[in-house]
């Protein structure tokens, strides 16, 4: 074994190791702090009181529901997804408040959400998390991260700076001020907001967004009347409705017209776009947020049946990455027995 070989060989080995380690570190995003990592969203979401152990890192407060989705078959015109074929398929859902605070007040939280997980024939699933706002506050995930960071910032001017850089935020402010409040999860319309690509049986692609239109009529209530109901009435209200019968929503897909942008969920499509009624969501029972079947469900909007896919809207991917981190952390806490069932105790989880 010549000494020259040892030196040269050692140098090659060292160089190969250095390249492998550096490439791995680059791939993992450890070389710089500026990657749009899902952890940065979670950090920015953290409410002043901390997350609840085992609770979702956003939309923490909520209630489980179960029921069905009955497809009429009409949506097969835009998507060959098996669960758009006529039939009735099981559904797990969850109503929630759009806040990371597990003790958020029902009467003061502006955004309400509804997640569903439909299992189609053959076990294919469609998961989706929808809100009662008709559009997203900002145009990109980067802007949303800035908005979250500004909301948690002590600098009173922070939000103003984000608003100046992202004028689309104004529309959300307008909605928050003027949209009517209701006193029931059942009276809300929930919107998917993000655009997805539906592929029909002939292979044609259609950009779609969806909304769930409630069968219940919305009864407008004033913010003061809401406040009088206290911080926790939405669960009970839902329960009492379910006790007297099932609740229904029509699922409507809206198709983009040529030229409509499909990458920016802060821009609602103009009225008058063609729609197709995919079917009816029927909810028959409600369960507790912690003991119910929705607890361990990640309503990841990229879990789509064949015939629906993500398009150029960057949000579904961002949400998938962030929901996974939220899910990993909350289930680890559930598993370690640290979970408290969330309302105000055992806070401060990462």
């Amino acid at each position: 074994m010549a000494a020259g070989n040892v030196v040269r060989g050692g140098a090659v080995i060292g160089a190969v190791l250095a390249v492998l380690v550096a490439a791995f570190a680059w791939a993992g995003g450890w070389l710089s702090g500026d990657r749009l990592s899902p952890e940065r969203f979670i950090t920015a979401l953290k409410p002043p009181g901390g997350f609840g152990y085992g609770d979702r890192r956003n939309h923490a407060k909520g209630v489980c529901v179960t029921g069905t989705f009955t497809a009429d078959g009409a949506a097969t015109a835009v998507s060959h997804a098996s669960l758009f074929r006529p039939g009735t398929y099981p559904l797990i859902g969850r109503f929630s408040l759009g806040s990371a605070d597990p003790a958020a007040s029902d009467s003061a939280t502006r955004v309400r959400g509804f997640g569903f997980d439909i299992t189609g024939p053959g076990g294919e699933e469609w998961r989706s998390a929808n809100i009662d706002v008709p559009f997203f506050p900002v145009a990109t995930p980067d802007a949303f991260l800035q908005l979250l960071q500004a909301s948690g910032s002590k600098d009173p001017g922070a939000i103003g700076q984000v608003a100046a850089a992202h004028p689309e935020l104004k529309a959300f402010g307008g909605w928050a001020k003027s949209a009517p409040w209701t006193a029931s999860f059942a009276e809300e319309q929930y919107n998917g907001i993000d655009a997805f690509v539906a592929t029909d049986a002939a292979g044609s692609r259609h950009f779609v967004r969806w909304s769930l239109l409630p069968a219940a009529t919305a009864q407008q209530v004033t913010p003061d009347a809401l406040k009088a109901k206290g911080p926790d009435f939405l669960d009970r209200e839902l329960e009492s409705r379910l006790a007297s019968g099932p609740l229904h929503w029509r699922m409507v897909l809206t198709e983009a017209a040529p030229g409509d942008q499909t990458a920016d969920p802060s821009q609602a499509w103009p009225a008058g776009r063609p729609t197709v009624a995919a079917g009816t969501i029927t909810l028959t029972a409600g369960q507790d947020n912690v003991a119910g079947p929705c607890r361990d469900v990640n309503f990841d909007p990229t879990i789509l049946p064949s015939g629906l896919a993500t398009g150029d809207d960057p949000f579904p991917a961002a949400r998938s990455a962030v929901y996974a981190v939220s899910y990993n952390r909350r289930t680890a806490q559930e598993a370690s027995g640290q979970a408290t069932g969330g309302h105000d105790t055992g806070r401060n989880a990462q």
């Binding site: 070989n5 791995f24 995003g29 990592s37 991917a317 598993a335």
Partner: protein, 201 residues
């Protein structure tokens, strides 16, 4: 001679060639070599894809996850084939002059590599099952869950998948260093048994 045909390796190289030094060491069978290099590429790719896909919320993460699941299952299929071939064809023995401790280290590290190649995809599959997520391979085709939907199982497997992935990467660094040490410093034919060709003199 007996050293070279250990492990049930049914010599494809005439012993006389080995003794005359024209072939330093019997090579692995061609199918073993193809499997080794194809899997080396796949496994390194999986490690990079894995850490890359969890590092970013950009759209590319979805594409990486979509490759990660089926490629991982492909590795599981390939390692089964590879071990079956190995059971039939054996492996060439290591050079006689390699210290016993080093031989033991080589054998042990190879079994650890096989253990990781088998366990990583099964843990990944189990982790996705325990999360209650569909184990999608490609559009419309999914594998059945191998575990029930369970927080406790998910938490354990999620930790295991990450920790074993990092240990596997470290082991591969060691393995590559050893392979190159044989190729460039010892020049004893160990590298060529897998890579082909002959060691430089």
């Amino acid at each position: 001679m007996s050293d070279f045909t250990r492990n049930g390796f049914n010599g494809r190289v005439q012993p006389s060639l080995l003794e005359r030094g024209e072939v330093v060491r019997e090579p692995f069978a061609p199918v073993q070599r193809v499997l080794h290099w194809a899997m080396a590429v796949c496994i390194l790719a999986m490690l990079f894809i894995g850490v890359g896909m969890v590092s970013t919320a950009r759209p590319i993460s979805l594409g990486l996850v979509d490759v990660h699941r089926p490629l991982g299952i492909l590795i599981l299929l390939l390692v089964v084939v590879r071990l079956a071939v190995r059971a039939r064809r054996g492996t060439p023995a290591l050079p006689r002059d390699l210290p016993a401790g080093v031989k033991l280290g080589a054998t042990l590290s190879h079994w650890l590599l096989y253990a990781a190649m088998i366990s990583m995809p099964i843990i990944g599959w189990g982790m996705v099952s325990a999360a209650g997520l569909p184990v999608v391979m490609w559009g419309g085709f999914q594998l059945p869950p191998i575990l029930p939907h369970s927080d406790a199982l998910h938490a354990v497997l999620w930790d295991a998948h990450r920790i074993i992935a990092y240990l596997l990467f470290a082991l591969i660094l060691l393995h590559v260093s050893a392979a190159l040490m044989h190729a460039l410093i010892r020049r004893d034919g160990v590298f060529e048994a897998m890579a082909g060709g002959r060691p430089p003199v």
